[in-house]
């Protein structure tokens, strides 16, 4: 099933030091797959950054999209962190390398 890159587009934004990650499935079928595969835990594991709170997932079936918030991921944000990309704009593309595994029999 490849990686997220084969099924979705991504865009990040920032509010303070929260990273907001939008995942835009390229079809309704892809949305169903991503909705199941991308739990808040899966995102937190892939974005193994020091967070100040839990990853929150919001599903938008009407738009075939998911929005995740990662509080504290930006470590102070654009004005608080000395990091080059304080907004975390480049961080969206990190999601694209996440492999999508075919659901195993034991899951069903």
């Amino acid at each position: 099933m490849g990686t997220i890159d084969d099924h979705a587009d991504v865009r990040t934004g920032d509010k303070g030091d929260t990273l907001i990650l939008a995942v835009l499935a390229r079809s309704e079928e892809a949305y169903q797959v991503l909705e199941r595969a991308l739990s808040p835990e899966a995102i937190a594991t892939h974005y193994a950054l020091p967070l100040s709170g839990p990853v929150v997932k919001r599903s938008l079936p009407g738009l075939n999209a998911l929005v995740f918030t990662l509080p504290g991921a930006l470590g102070g944000g654009v004005t608080g962190s000395p990091v080059l990309d304080g907004h975390g704009k480049a961080l969206s593309y990190h999601l694209l390398s996440l492999p999508l595994s075919t659901p195993s029999r034991s899951d069903q």
Binding site: P82, L91, H94
Partner: protein, 452 residues
């Protein structure tokens, strides 16, 4: 009450989506798109604090650094076409920005131009009196040790409608909420009650949200040559929207301009920087974008309906700016065999010397290996890069220590690993941003009209 017959479509153009945005797409819109309104959104959390800091130090005026160029480039065309300009480019000093607009209008021969200036977003006195709890720390403002330099409340669309009702041709505000720059003209033109139907205000806010980042709706921050190709980004067209009296909007861009506008570009921008699409909090409404319906009605035309909303919050968000010390940084490149190993050795040398020679706390020093996974903050596995650019940065209390960071990187030229080249160093003052809320009744926007 509406100044125009009902069912008239109002055309809003997005002339800028951030302080550093291009100017020529706004000129193109003003000339060719027959706009009713041209909106320049140029403030972010850090821009308003930075503008306040510049004003306080007397190093510069407190309004948008490009405001003069934006107005000089578009005001004559807008006046000729009857297009009203709305902007939050007043930043930390809307009154001075208003005087600038009057000067530019007079210089262009447009005497009689009415400039509406909105003040009252500066709530420094109120936050000092109320001593609210800060979101980031959970402690009262008075517990902060950093020097507070600015406090600006996000104000809503009401003062925009007031200025327009008084016949303003240009409306200049400071920390007006981004979507309110667009909701204000819609409420004025369509006679929407800003204390009324939250469904209508939610749809109008959705229209404003889609336009507020300008080129991000038409292919900017979207393009990927393989998965999402966008034609002619060098001449990216900025969007406009034709908005009906029920809030339904058809988005488009100038004929012949670069970029693309379709359901994919619109959906990405709809969810951009929205932490909760079911409850997007603005001063005017708690908007809900989750039921948005997008329909491609033609080439580069998308009709958007289905935005809704609930009651607006009782408290207004306030952005606080504090003097946060200094940021010092230095960069140097290594290429070829063992580039990464040499960059790592260089980083270790700088780290050691900043601690031993300059007395800087090693925990304050940040090392990034650009080209070897820095943008992903070390999350992704790395192969052998062709080249690595070492970046060392630290936030420190004083300018001399900040300067030492770049100095120690630059001095690697003659004292560090082999083949280090292209060193650069930079120092800047840092403004730390925090947030709180204030009761709405403590924020009192004021509108004044100046005439050129």
């Amino acid at each position: 009450m509406s100044p125009h017959p009902m069912n008239r479509t109002v055309r809003l153009g997005a002339g800028a989506g951030f302080a550093g945005d291009r100017i020529d797409p706004a000129v193109e819109l003003a000339r060719s798109a027959d706009l009713d309104y041209l909106v320049f959104e140029v403030l972010g959390e850090r821009t308003i604090a930075g503008a306040n800091a510049r004003r306080l130090t007397g190093s510069d005026h407190g309004y948008d650094p490009l405001l003069r160029r934006r107005l000089e480039a578009t005001l004559p065309t807008c006046r000729q076409h009857g297009t009203t300009i709305v902007t939050n480019g007043g930043a930390a000093d809307p009154s001075a920005a208003g005087a600038l607009a009057v000067e530019i209008a007079r210089a262009g021969g447009f005497t009689g131009t009415r400039v509406g200036v909105i003040t009252g977003d500066d709530v420094l006195d109120a936050v000092r009196r109320v001593d609210p709890e800060l979101w980031e720390t959970g402690t009262p403002l008075s517990a902060e040790t950093d020097d507070l330099v600015s406090a600006n409340a996000y104000i809503g669309a009401a003062p925009v409608t007031e200025a327009l009702a008084e016949g303003a041709d240009i409306v200049i505000a400071g920390r007006l909420a981004d979507p309110a720059l667009y909701l204000g003209p819609l409420a004025h033109e369509h006679g929407w009650d800003l204390d009324g139907d939250p469904v209508l205000l939610g749809q109008g806010t959705m229209v404003g949200h889609l336009l507020e980042c300008a080129g991000q709706l038409t292919g900017g921050y979207f393009a990927d040559p393989l998965t999402k190709p966008v034609p002619d980004l060098a001449r990216l067209g900025f969007p406009f929207a034709d908005v009906e009296s029920d809030g339904a909007a058809v988005f488009g861009k100038p004929a012949g301009s670069g970029g693309r506008l379709d359901r994919r570009t619109v959906t990405e921008q709809l969810l951009y920087e929205v932490n909760d699409p079911y409850a997007y909090i603005t001063p005017d409404v708690t908007a809900d974008f989750s039921g948005a319906q997008l329909e491609q009605t033609g080439p580069d035309r998308v009709r958007v309906t289905g935005g809704t909303g609930r009651a607006r919050p009782d408290e207004l968000k306030v952005t606080l700016g504090f003097r946060g010390g200094w940021l010092g940084e230095g960069q140097i490149s290594y290429a070829g065999p063992r580039a990464r190993e040499r960059a790592e050795l260089a980083a270790e040398i700088v780290r050691t010397r900043l601690a031993d020679v300059h007395g800087l706390d090693p925990d304050a020093v940040l090392v990034e290996l650009v080209g070897a996974g820095a943008a992903f903050r070390g999350l992704a596995g790395q192969q052998d890069p062709v080249e690595v650019r070492l970046r060392v940065a630290a936030r420190v209390d004083d300018r001399i220590m900040a300067d030492a960071v770049g100095w120690e990187v630059e001095s690697l030229y003659t004292t560090g690993p082999a083949g280090g080249g292209g060193a650069r160093r930079h120092v800047q003052e840092v403004l730390a941003i925090r947030s709180c809320t204030l009761p709405r009744e403590l924020v009192r926007p004021h509108v004044s009209i100046e005439e050129a």
